[in-house]
Subunit: 219 residues, 2 copies
C-alpha cells in the first residue's frame, strides 16, 4: 500500500513511522525537503524510520493511494493546494487535523466549528477526493497504538461521504494501528462533532495532567 | 436537603423525581403553576412523584438550598431572571442546560460555543450564585441512573469557580444518582468543553440509534 503523509510534525511522523513499520510504502511530504531533513530532531526521527521517503507535498500526494493530512489545521487548506487537487483526485484523504486557533490564548479555540468544520472545508476544496475525517480525537501516540490504553477498549470515529472510503480507512485503522472499535458517524458534516471534541480534550488534558487518554462510548 | 428544580420537561421531571425519591424536599418550578399541572402528561408524572411540590420559578428558587437549571438553553437566562437573583444569592445552581439552536435545522447547532458558553453567561448574570455546570453530557435517564450503563463505569463532569460547590454537587451526584466517576474540569469557562460535546452526542445518537449512552474517558 502506497501512503502519502502530509506534514512532518509529531502527528505526521507517528503516522508515517507506524505505516512504514507495518509494510506500507510511505512518502512524507513537506514544504521544502531540501531544508527540513537538516533539522536535528527530524534527522533523529528519520534514523528510526529509514524506509520513509521524504518529498514535497505534491510528491507525497502523487505517490499515494491513500493520503493523510497531518498538518496543523490553520495551514491545511494551503498545504492541500500545494499538494495539488490533481494528485489527490479519486483518492482517499484521511483528515487528521484540528482547526485550532491559538490567537485567542490558551487553551486554543477553534477557527471553524458548530455550523461548519475543517473536514467539510477540505472536502469542498477537493470535490474529487474522498475525504474521511478520523483520528483527530486523540494524540499522536494513541492514534497509532491505541492498545496502550485499556487494551484498545475505546473508540475512534470516521466521517465522510464515501462509504467504501470509510471502510478502507476503518480496515487500515484496525489492521495497521490496532483500533478495535470504529464508529461511523455519517457524512462529512459529522466532522463538526468530532472536531468539537477538541475543546473538551484540551480541558481533560488540563484536568487529568496527561494527553494519554481516549474516548469510550458506553452503551 | 431542599432542592429547587427549574423546568418541568423531561430533564426537570427526572431530576425532581429522583431527588424526591432519595429523600430531598423538592419544589419544581414552572412559569405558571396554575396552568401547567393541568397538562395530562404532567399530571401523570405527578402521580409518580406526589411528594414534589409545584411552584413558580421564584418559589422553587426561594425554597432551595441547591437549585437545578433544567430549562431549554434558549430560555435559561430568561427563566433565571424570573427565578430572581435574590432567591439564588449564595446558593449552588447546577446548570444542566445545553445551548441548542434549532433554527438552523437538524441536528441543532449551538447558539453559544467555542469562545463562550451558556454556563459562563449564567454565572455572569448571577455573580452571587455558585454555578456548577454538570450532567448536560447525557440524557435525562442516564443523569439520574448512571448505573444502568456498564454499571456506572463512565464519567460525568463538573465545571465551576467555587471548589466547595463542586464538591457538594459531586457528592450529590454520587450519593443520590449513583455516579461513580466525576471529573472536575476546572473553572466555569471549562463548560465550553462540556457543552461542545453536544454536537458529537447528537451525531452519536444518530449513528448508534439510541440516546442511552455516556462517555468514558479511558486512560
Amino acid at each position: 500500500m502506497d501512503i502519502g503523509v502530509l506534514g512532518t510534525g509529531t502527528v505526521g511522523r507517528a503516522l508515517a513511522g507506524k505505516l512504514a513499520a507495518t509494510g506500507a510504502q510511505v512518502v512524507i511530504g513537506t514544504r521544502d525537503p531540501a531544508v527540513l531533513p537538516g533539522r536535528e530532531d527530524f534527522a533523529d526521527w528519520r534514523a528510526t524510520s529509514p524506509a520513509v521517503e521524504v518529498g514535497t507535498f505534491a510528491e507525497a500526494a502523487a505517490a499515494a493511494e491513500i493520503a493523510f493530512n497531518a498538518t496543523p489545521g490553520h495551514v491545511s487548506l494551503e498545504v492541500l493546494r500545494m499538494a495539488g487537487a490533481d494528485n489527490l483526485e479519486g483518492k482517499i484523504l484521511v483528515d487528521v487535523s484540528n482547526p485550532l486557533d491559538f490567537s485567542t490564548g490558551m487553551p486554543p479555540s477553534l477557527f471553524v466549528s458548530n455550523t461548519d468544520s475543517l473536514g467539510e472545508r477540505i472536502q469542498a476544496q477537493l470535490p474529487g477526493t474522498r475525504v474521511v475525517k478520523s483520528l483527530n480525537t486523540v494524540n499522536a501516540s494513541v492514534m497509532v497504538d491505541p492498545r496502550q490504553l485499556a487494551d484498545g477498549d475505546h473508540h475512534v470515529f470516521v466521517s465522510g461521504n464515501d462509504q467504501e472510503a470509510k471502510q478502507v480507512v476503518s480496515d487500515l485503522l484496525r489492521d495497521r494501528f490496532g483500533w478495535r472499535n470504529v464508529i461511523d458517524l455519517g457524512d462529512i458534516s459529522t466532522a463538526r462533532g468530532a472536531e468539537m471534541l477538541m475543546p473538551m480534550w484540551l480541558r481533560l488534558m488540563g484536568s487529568l495532567g496527561t494527553a494519554m487518554f481516549s474516548w469510550r462510548i458506553v452503551t
